[in-house]
Every structure is written in C-alpha cells, then in structure tokens.
Subunit: 270 residues, 2 copies
C-alpha cells in the first residue's frame, strides 16, 4: 500500500455518506494541511458514494476553502443531490470539531465510458526531462515550508524555478514533473491533489508566502496512464489582490488528463 | 425599471434566505429558461443575503445545472455557510415543484474595496465596432431558437459568426458586443447572465443544438462601467463529448470584469 493510499484510509460510519479520517501532519504545508490533499480526501469519500451508481470519477469538482485544516481527525460528509444516467451530482464537506474546512459541489461520471474523439486539446509545454529539472531537495530551505513536499517527487523546469533562488521571472508560470516517491499510479481522485501541489504562481512575481485558495474548480478529462505527470501553473489575470491561477496536468503519454482554475488571495507578506 | 430588473423581482418569504420568483417565458431559449439568467436569479437572491454582511458582489460563483427550468414559479433558497471579514460563502438552490434545477456554491465579497493594482490581465480581442457587427435579428431563423435572444442586443464579430450561415470556422471562438435593448447598466449579478448568453462554441464546429452545461464557475474581477460589454467565448479543450468553454467579459473601458469556465456536454444532434 502506498503512502498516499494509507493517508486516504477513510472509515465509513453508521451514517450514510459520512466518513472519518485522520489527517496526518505529513501532508501539511505551512500551518495547514495541503488543500490539494484535502480535495483528494473529499474526492475519495465522494467516489465511494457514487461508484455504486456507476460514476466512479470526478468530472467537475469545486472546492471552497473556509478555514485551515490541522492534523488530527476530520469528518467528511457526502450528500447525493441527484443521480442520473450519465452523472451523479453531490455536495460534500470536510469539518474538524464542527468547523467547516472545505465545502464541495461536484459531478461524478465515468471517464472510461467517454468517446475517444478529441477535437481540440492542449499539448504539454516543452520542458527538459525530469533528470535535468530541479528537485524539491535542491531548493533553498526557505521555500520548503512543510512535510507535504516530501510526499512528492517534484522536478521543476529550471526555466520556471528562478523564484526559488530569489529571481522570479514575473511571467506567472511554474511547470515541472511530478509523481510520488513510491510511484503510485495516478487516478482521477489523485489528480485532484496534483492540481494544487505546486507553489503558487504568486512566487513567480516575488510575492512569497501563503496564497490562500478561495475556490478551486477541477475538470477531469481522461483516465491517466501510469508514470510521470507534467504540471503547468499559469496566470493570465492577477489584479485587485486576487489571482486567477490555471493548472493543467498531462499524463506520461502527453494527454491532458485534468485542469483546474482557482481564485486565490495574494500573500499578505510581500 | 428595466426589463431585466422586472424579471429579477424576487419575493422574500417568511423563511430566512428563501425567495419565490416567477420565471417568464421571455427568458427561455430552446426548451428551457436560459442558464445564465438563472444564475442572475440565484445570484440576486444570494446578494440580498450577503449585502447585509458588507459583501454585495459575487467573487466566485459555481452553478450546477440539474434539470431544465421551465416558465412558472420557482423557489430560491440561500444558506450562508460562513461569513468572515472579507467574504461570505454560501450554498444556494433554485427548484421548481420540489425538483432541483440549479445548485450553487459561491463566495461573495466587496469588489469596490479591492486594491486597484493590476499585475497581469487580459485585453479585449480586436473586433469591429458594434455597428459593423451582426445583429441577432440578422441571423438565420434556425439559429434563433427562443425569446431570450430578444432580451439582448447582441452584435457578433462577423469573423466569428460563420456558423450562423453554415460556415463554422472550427477554431472554437465566438465573440461580440452585448447590452440590453434598454441599455441597463451592468453590475456583477448581471454579468453572471452575460457569461452564458452567447451560443455555445460547439456551433463553431458545426455541431448545432443545445450543449447542456454541467457546471459553470464565474469569477468576477471588477465593477463594470456602463455601456457596451465585449464578450469572448473560446475552447482549448473539446474531447470525449465534453467541451471546456471559457468566457471573458470586458466593460466599456476595456477592463476585464468577469470570466467563466464551463463544462458542457456536446449536442447530441450533429
């Protein structure tokens, strides 16, 4: 069993759609459990409810982050809103001690059942192979603020990692390769975490510090093949203290498998 | 009082956060009330709840469309999830006869209170002025399937309107100018409708017919100035029978005021 799968050991309770989970400090970054990981936790709970309807995969998954999750027990609750032929719609929440951490509205379906036709899609950006990229543990300590980064084998394209040595490019782009150290095969729920695993693009504007996500919406496009994933973060709108951040994820065959857009507040410290 | 404001005449009920509204056939397109208009209806109900908290404007607004809304009475319900200093998070629904039509998860704040700094933004696309664009009533009747289009003064850039005369470009882009015939000044809740008022980009691939929205997430960026709005729809991912459709809206000063991404199913008829 991989580290990620152990961390996602949700316990069903007597109540329909209600689960408990123990959030480990291992998945924390800064003063909070990583938001991407929390999406995988809620995404997995939802999957357990919708898989019985023939809808194992998130198609669209919106998460609002209400307060910072801490290590320790958490309650996850999934409420099916509507289940039809092609999809199930649900709302869900993750709370600790009665305080909401995350609220979710999502639709699940069956990615394996979609037709294979691709009219328009996005190709992965050109970047050097993983062995020529910058590893987490090669970055200055100040930019490695939590154990979450040890959960991933992240290789940043040196061309987009200038911020790590105090030379942000101000282009608003960070990209690289990612997998877990134990090479856990990706699946759609795992991709929810990958969509929010890179440092925020605000780093590339020299604005370090935590950029709290207000809302992130993920769209899942296809079942990923095993192997390295490529991830690209970028922004084309950063104004009024809010940043619109787009993430794309490609699997080892170069196919777009997931994307997200999030609205985040820029870091207070500059 | 403008036509749009009359249509948004929500009646508060005795229950906190619960409203009733009469959906007029005037805002229908095809066999359903327009989804963008429904977002404005729910968005207005939410605004009435959050304005008391100092948060009059949607910042991020996610709508799931569960079934087609019909003319007639509808119940709108807003539940405040959390209200803090800078924003209020809420869930909401629009139902008819107990059947959910729309489910919403949103965060409201105060756009007027945001700092004016713009680090990165998107400029409006080049397009001819409104008087050199194609009006709704100049389009072939087959592409004008409901009274909703008469609620808007829509002027399409001829370069992106080939689909209206059976010559789709397959580029996946539709753009133009829009306002109401009575030139109602836009506001953030009004922009929710504008984000989904153009024909679907699937038309530009020659795939006519209704492309049902699964989910649409709007981000509001700034308070719009009065006058014409510019709108651009585009897709960069259309695969597996699902289309990812991006909408951007600029105000009369050329400032990006709202954007959205939606996940829609492609039309069944081709």
């Amino acid at each position: 069993m991989t580290e990620y799968d152990r961390a996602l050991s949700l316990q069903a309770t007597d109540e329909d759609g209600a689960f408990v989970v123990d959030l480990s400090r291992d998945w924390s970054i800064g003063a909070a459990v990583n938001g991407g990981f929390l999406m995988s936790v809620v995404g997995e709970a939802a999957r357990r409810v919708t898989v019985e309807r023939g809808h194992p995969d998130p198609l669209t998954f919106t998460a609002h982050f209400l307060s910072a999750a801490q290590e320790g027990p958490a309650d996850v609750r999934v409420d099916l809103v509507r289940s039809g032929r092609t999809q199930s719609t649900l709302s869900a929440s993750l709370a600790q001690g009665g305080t909401d951490r995350v609220r979710v509205l999502a639709a699940y379906g069956d990615l394996a059942g979609l037709p294979d036709e691709r009219l328009v899609t996005i190709d992965p950006p050109a970047m050097p192979p993983p062995e020529q990229c910058v590893r987490n543990d090669q970055m200055p300590a100040g930019n490695k603020p939590g154990p979450f980064l040890d959960r991933l084998d992240l290789r940043l394209d040196p061309d987009t990692a200038g911020w790590a040595v105090g030379e942000p490019t101000h282009r608003g782009r960070i990209q690289g390769w990612v997998r877990t150290p134990d090479d856990r095969a990706p699946d759609p729920v795992f991709l929810l975490m990958i969509l929010d695993c890179l440092p925020p693009v605000t780093f590339d504007f020299g604005r370090y510090g935590w950029a709290p996500t207000v809302e992130l919406t993920a769209h899942l496009a296809a079942l990923p093949e095993p192997g390295w994933l490529q991830v690209r973060l970028m922004t084309d709108h950063y104004a009024g203290g809010l940043v619109s951040e787009d993430a794309e994820v490609w699997d080892s065959t170069g196919r777009l498998v997931a994307r997200a857009r999030q609205l985040a507040r820029e870091p207070r410290q500059r």
